[in-house]
Symmetry: D2
Subunit: 119 residues, 4 copies
């Protein structure tokens, strides 16, 4: 037995894992942060039940991460903040990725049932 809220949370997790492992490692510099943010968000919004994705890549963190002369670094969790809203059968799930103890943690922020979901 799986409830609609549990299914909604599963769907939310899929989107987060997809986003991270599709785009981590992408070459990025302060010149290319905006286009990468947009592409990540629009790409993941294609997935089912994914209502909205917001990606903010931190230009200063990217610049600080460029340790070598080549002028770019690779996208990873400590360089971006992500928020997503998933809606599945009347259940809205909000998620966020943010740094915690130096580790980019994917968090389930809230699960809101509009009253029509199967328990």
């Amino acid at each position: 037995m799986v409830t609609d809220a549990q299914q909604a949370c599963f769907e939310a997790g899929i989107k987060f894992g997809s986003l991270y492992h599709q785009f981590a490692g992408t070459p990025v510099s302060p010149r290319s942060t905006r286009s990468l943010e947009t592409a990540i968000a629009e790409s993941i919004e294609n997935q089912p039940f994914c209502e909205s994705v917001t990606v903010a890549i931190d230009d200063d963190a990217v610049a600080a991460d460029i340790a070598h002369d080549n002028g770019y670094t690779e996208l990873s969790g400590h360089l971006m903040q992500v928020q997503m809203r998933i809606v599945y059968e009347g259940v809205t799930v909000r998620t966020r990725m943010e740094m915690e103890d130096g580790y980019p943690l994917m968090k389930l922020v809230e699960v809101i049932d509009d009253g029509t979901a199967d328990a």
Copy 2:
């Protein structure tokens, strides 16, 4: 408010999205299916709350997918079956990826609460 079962389902989804988007696109042939299965499983089992991952890449499907002379194809959902067990705070979640209508669907199979989880 998020229940342990919902958090467990979120974690299960993260693992599935991670597995798929990390490894989809990997060059594969019938000569390299076994090592890829093992590496995928052991890699994702590193993630938190992930008790076991089983990956079965279909050698016949891989061979059939090799349309050109180069002798390999790229890993994608229709070439493999995946099963995972996630355990979070007394909640066990079983998931599976299998083909449905020609599309590799990630499924939440069951959510089992051992009675100690927070509702």
Copy 3:
């Protein structure tokens, strides 16, 4: 002994392999092709010696590839054309990815030495 022209060709190959394996598998639909094209090009242009990258994702091919109800597909070689120009120590290398016998082939189009490169 490695010539500048050989090094330039090696660099060109790195960019092509990077582009393909970073972005293949990205969820894409006709709604998100333009942002993905831009992000891919700007991302790879960050890499050393990479003067320009042009990516054209074929909207009609993407639409035709959407076989299931979910409304998106995964980026792969048959959905896009890519052109790159690499410049290394006076050697310009032009490359292109295009379909050949149903397989997306990465091609070295021309290698132009401006006369200053080490032979």
Copy 4:
């Protein structure tokens, strides 16, 4: 006009970019280094003209990279050494990835023409 040696170097670059951007970001711990090394090598050896790939992931570096409690890190260039041999139309290309000034550099080590290649 493209020589066989230039084409061989282009092919060598493709393999390196593919390897790096396919597998960077993979969850890894000292428990899963051996299976990942094997899978990476066997996967890339599927690609055309790729005679051999050797991947050595540094267990100590992986352990040192595990900064947080989760017990794993993500594969990136500073954790591994890679050597490849590409053979194209009588030209053998040897490549290596190793750290230089804190940055994982992909290097063209040597290009050996057996005397039958087109100049």
